[in-house]
């Protein structure tokens, strides 16, 4: 059976109405439509005539869309300020994720250095195992953080039918920022108890020509940038072209 309100879904999402309100509106309209058809049939109309009368009583697509758009409170943040939710917000989210990762690593290093201090590890926890978790956390923050965030930006942009420019800008910014960061840690080992954590941007080394930016070093980030954008593109495609009922 054709879904009579599907064009309305696209109109509302493109206009920035929050998907949660769009889904509920369409569901309520469908239920209302069913009630009206029942009422019209009870009044003696045939099935087709009852459906047509019910649709007319509900209002045209434009009137239904205008009613929703006249309520600014029902618009999503992505609809109101796409630059904030799809560009600036994701970069801040990445910075926050990194900050938490750094905090976790610093605490872990402090613990590894002073296992008998304030934070005593439980007996079942081997320090050798803990030393393996540290690098994994570092890899997760360095590679997984930007990937998760670009996937989220792409999915959000697609679901809310934002103009392509916003999720694209957000994904490029996060991918570039994420891949340009360079982490390095040395974990304490038997016979070498020192540890070290450094954080910097690739390419901020003096170049052979004397400039502050060394493009040859920075270009090592490019495969990660392209991989992140490919993941974002795949997520965008899946979210954008999924069946509307599941959106």
């Amino acid at each position: 059976m054709p879904q009579p309100f599907e064009p309305l879904r696209e109109t509302l999402l493109r206009a920035g109405v929050a998907p949660v309100h769009v889904r509920r509106y369409l569901r309520e309209l469908s239920e209302h439509f069913a009630d009206l058809v029942e009422e019209e049939q009870a009044a003696g109309r045939g099935p087709d005539a009852a459906r047509a009368a019910a649709r007319a009583r509900l209002g045209g697509d434009q009137a239904l869309a205008d009613a929703m758009l006249s309520q600014p409170a029902l618009r999503s943040w992505t609809g109101r300020a796409p630059w904030a939710t799809l560009v600036v917000g994701p970069i801040l989210l990445l910075v926050l994720a990194w900050s938490l990762a750094i905090l976790g690593i610093v605490l872990m290093l402090a613990w590894l250095h002073h296992p008998n201090g304030l934070f005593q590890p439980p007996a079942w926890l081997q320090l050798a195992w803990l030393a393996k978790v540290g690098p994994a956390l570092l890899d997760l923050a360095q590679v997984g953080g930007p990937l998760l965030i670009v996937a989220w930006v792409a999915g959000l942009g697609a679901r809310q039918r934002s103009r392509l420019i916003w999720p694209l800008l957000g994904c490029v910014a996060v991918a570039l920022f994420g891949a340009s960061l360079h982490w390095e840690a040395r974990w304490p080992a038997v016979g070498s108890p020192e540890s070290m954590l450094s954080l910097g941007f690739r390419g901020l080394h003096p170049s052979p020509s004397g400039g502050a930016l060394n493009l040859a070093v920075w270009s090592q980030s490019l495969p990660m940038v392209f991989f992140s954008l490919a993941v974002a593109g795949a997520v965008y495609g899946i979210a954008r072209f999924r069946t509307p009922a599941a959106a």
Partner: protein, 115 residues
């Protein structure tokens, strides 16, 4: 006065929705029929356009909703909150003042109180 979208009707759908929901919780179709019945079909809200108003009132805290199955069909029921009662009280006062002022003008009185 069937044109619920005219400027003169601004605020009236909200007032009627809140007044009807003061008595009991209702779902959208039921609410539209209730308004039609109580106004002898003088005021007929566009049947589909009542939902954005309900969503906005819920978002502002004046209403709350819950999904309930009745007769094998699932419906979203809306009910009044204390904040909604306050809003209804304010709107009712404004409406009563406005109606009295218009009545005074129609009867040829001199000056109406400011709304």
């Amino acid at each position: 006065m069937r044109d619920a979208g005219s400027n003169f009707m601004n605020g009236v759908p909200e007032l009627l929705v809140l007044r009807c929901l003061r008595d009991r919780e209702m779902y959208g179709y039921e609410l539209v029929q209730e308004i039609k019945g109580r106004t002898d079909a003088v005021v007929t809200l566009g049947e589909g356009v009542v939902y954005p108003l309900l969503h906005a009132l819920e978002r502002s805290g004046a209403l709350q909703s819950r999904r309930k199955s009745v007769g094998g069909r699932s419906r979203v029921y809306y009910a009044m909150t204390p904040k909604g009662l306050e809003r209804l009280s304010g709107l009712s006062t404004t409406w009563a003042t406005l109606a009295a002022a218009i009545g005074q003008v129609m009867q040829g009185g001199d000056h109406a109180a400011a709304v």
